[in-house]
Amino acid sequence: MLRFLVRRSLGAVVILFLLSIVTFLLFFGMPRDPALLMCGKTCTPANLENLHRVLGLDKPIPEQYWIFLTNLVSGSDGFAQGPCPAPCFGYSYHSNEQVWGTLMDRLPTTVSLTLGGAVFFLVIGLGTGLIAAWKRGTLIDKTFTGGAMVISSMQIYFLGPLALAILVYQTQIFDKPAYHDFTANPAAWFGGLIIPWVVLSTIFASQYTRMSRSSMIEQLQEEHVRTARAKGMSRRYVFFRYAWRGSLIPIVTIFGIDLGSLLGGAIITEYTFGLPGLGRLAVESVFFSDLPLLLGVMLFSATMILLCNIVVDAAYAFIDPRVRLA
């Protein structure tokens, strides 16, 4: 088991390494010369050259990549803007802030958004899914599954603006979503994120409703579940002890993936609600073609995804002894 996890982690590192290469190459195909950006209004070719030198853009790409890696691992003082301790993604071209610092600044927003949302949609989604499966074929079931079907076909970029328009702009019931530091003011933190949470979790929950229902129903058809019934175990007992356990496996898988990609930046959500999280950061860094930042976000986000995958694998072991003892 442990060996398994270690192996997976190593694999993740390899993937990250490859990813960094691909991303790095990708962004040095960027259409816009970052130096030109920094050069500003009164820019001369000489000045541009100089900037290229400062940014190290004149070096061959492999060398640039190598520098990037070494900085990442051991930090660097080579930056004009100042020292850059490991993990050093360098300084943003646009804001001249340390990339790692910026990432850490934006992280709380994304984490709050994601975890808050996750709590909502897991509880609602799994709950309704179980109820639907328990009451299979009844009106409740049909309402839940039908509703879930429709909602899961909605997009955040529709539901989000809609919620904003109605709750914020038209009725002015809520303030425009914003991130407030939890430690500073929990109430504001909650109030600022409630709409994004609701919208995000509504859409996700609907998917989890469908998933948990169907996987529950599959489980209920398992032979061992029928055996348990044949043993005289009560329906509730079998439902929760036997069927549910098994139904969790596909859900945990999906949840891991969702959580990972959300933690890596809930791009559209953050963009829609103007929340200063990693996703928004990513979009900004693209628009400013801010390579160090973009590279940072990409790798960070990928790390999140891989981490969550590993966590999921670990979770399997708890749910399914076959994995634990294999």
Binding site: T227, A230, K231, M233, G246
Partner: protein, 353 residues
């Protein structure tokens, strides 16, 4: 002896000592394609300590019958008519809670594939202990000890340790033993074994069958043994009921049915079964045609579309009139008793030898 002119569908008076008595059972499912009559007017009795073997091809309704006895059917889609009396208690109308008290306690079931039939998520011990805790109101500890004891009984070496294992750590045969232990943990009066050995290889089969027999001696419980393997039946059962398309077509003691089968379908079964002592060059004769659709069952004798002896009956009785089955040694066929005897003696037996 049989009386072919018995009045249609009349319930046979339940034998006083009949422990389980199924009377004119009808089970049908609603499907999008229409109503499927999986069991259609089935009646049989079973006495304590005896073993009833039910033979028949897939879809003849044997498993359905037994699931229905335990009430393991989905009321949303299923309608059950007729009566199932267990020691005089009516099961078809019994409340879910009532049935739960019976299941695994008075009536236990062994399923075909022990791998899928055991939960991968819990230790074998726990799964055996569960029903004991529930039905015997036993403590966790007591139940566990009982589980270990049962595992020991079914011949699992070092049961104390193995009880802590998960099913996937068991071999196929051991799993089936565990299944049996689980079924017998509350020493049930009726044990329903639904093809318990089909998934196992021959040697293990034998062991399991012996085990079952020994245990039956010990617990004195009645067994309903479902299979499509006449060999196994010969070995296990006291009585045989041959089912076809949701109804019984022939019944009698093992000896009667296997030595002097009366129903063309039974003949077919025997034909299609290879034997060690039979001539290897003699071709096996499978039953022609396919099992009938239970959606639109054939009129008259359900077997007539596949029956090669219709002409012997003469007229259209086979197509129009439903042949009936008597309570004891009997078969549901319009052929006369003599015809049956002669046809078997002269046309079937030679092929079996």
């Amino acid at each position: 002896m049989t009386t072919l002119t018995k009045e249609a569908g009349a319930p046979v008076p339940a034998g006083a000592d009949a422990f389980l008595s199924v009377r004119d059972l009808h089970v049908s499912f609603r499907t999008e394609d229409g109503v499927v009559r999986a069991v259609d007017g089935l009646s049989f009795d079973l006495e304590r300590g005896r073993t009833l073997g039910i033979v028949g091809e897939s879809g003849s309704g044997k498993s359905v019958t037994n699931l229905t006895i335990l009430g393991l059917h989905n009321p949303m889609f299923t309608t059950v008519e007729g009566e199932i009396l267990l020691e005089g208690q009516e099961l078809t109308t019994a409340r879910e809670s009532e049935l739960e008290k019976l299941r695994g306690n008075k009536v236990a079931m062994i399923f075909q594939d022990p791998l899928t039939a055991l939960s991968p998520y819990y230790t074998v011990g726990r799964q055996i202990a569960e029903p004991y805790m529930k039905h015997m109101r036993a403590s966790k500890k007591a139940a566990w000890e009982r589980a270990v004891e049962m595992l020991d009984k079914v011949g699992i070496p070092n049961p104390g340790q193995r009880a802590k294992d998960y099913p996937h750590q068991f071999s196929g045969g051991m799993r089936q033993r565990a299944m049996i232990a689980m079924a017998l943990v509350c020493d049930p009066d009726l044990l329903i074994a639904d093809e318990p050995t089909t998934a196992l290889d021959v040697t293990v089969q034998a062991q399991i069958l012996d085990l079952l027999k020994d245990l039956q001696q010990e617990f004195g419980s009645a067994i309903i043994f479902i299979t499509h393997d006449l060999g196994v039946i010969a070995d296990m059962a006291d009585d045989i009921m041959v089912m076809y398309a949701g109804g019984a077509v022939e019944r009698g003691t093992v000896h009667e049915v296997l030595r002097a089968p009366q129903h063309p379908y039974t003949w077919g079964l025997l034909n299609s079964m290879p034997r060690l002592d039979s001539d290897p060059h003699a071709p096996l004769a499978p039953i022609p045609g396919t099992p009938p659709s239970l959606l639109h069952p054939p009129s008259g004798c359900r077997f007539h579309p596949r029956c090669t002896f219709q002409d012997r009956v003469g007229g259209t009785r086979c197509v129009t009139e439903v042949p009936l089955l008597g309570p004891d040694r009997s078969s549901a066929c319009h052929l006369t008793a003599d015809q049956k005897r002669t046809i078997f003696e002269e046309e079937i037996r030679p092929r079996l030898r």
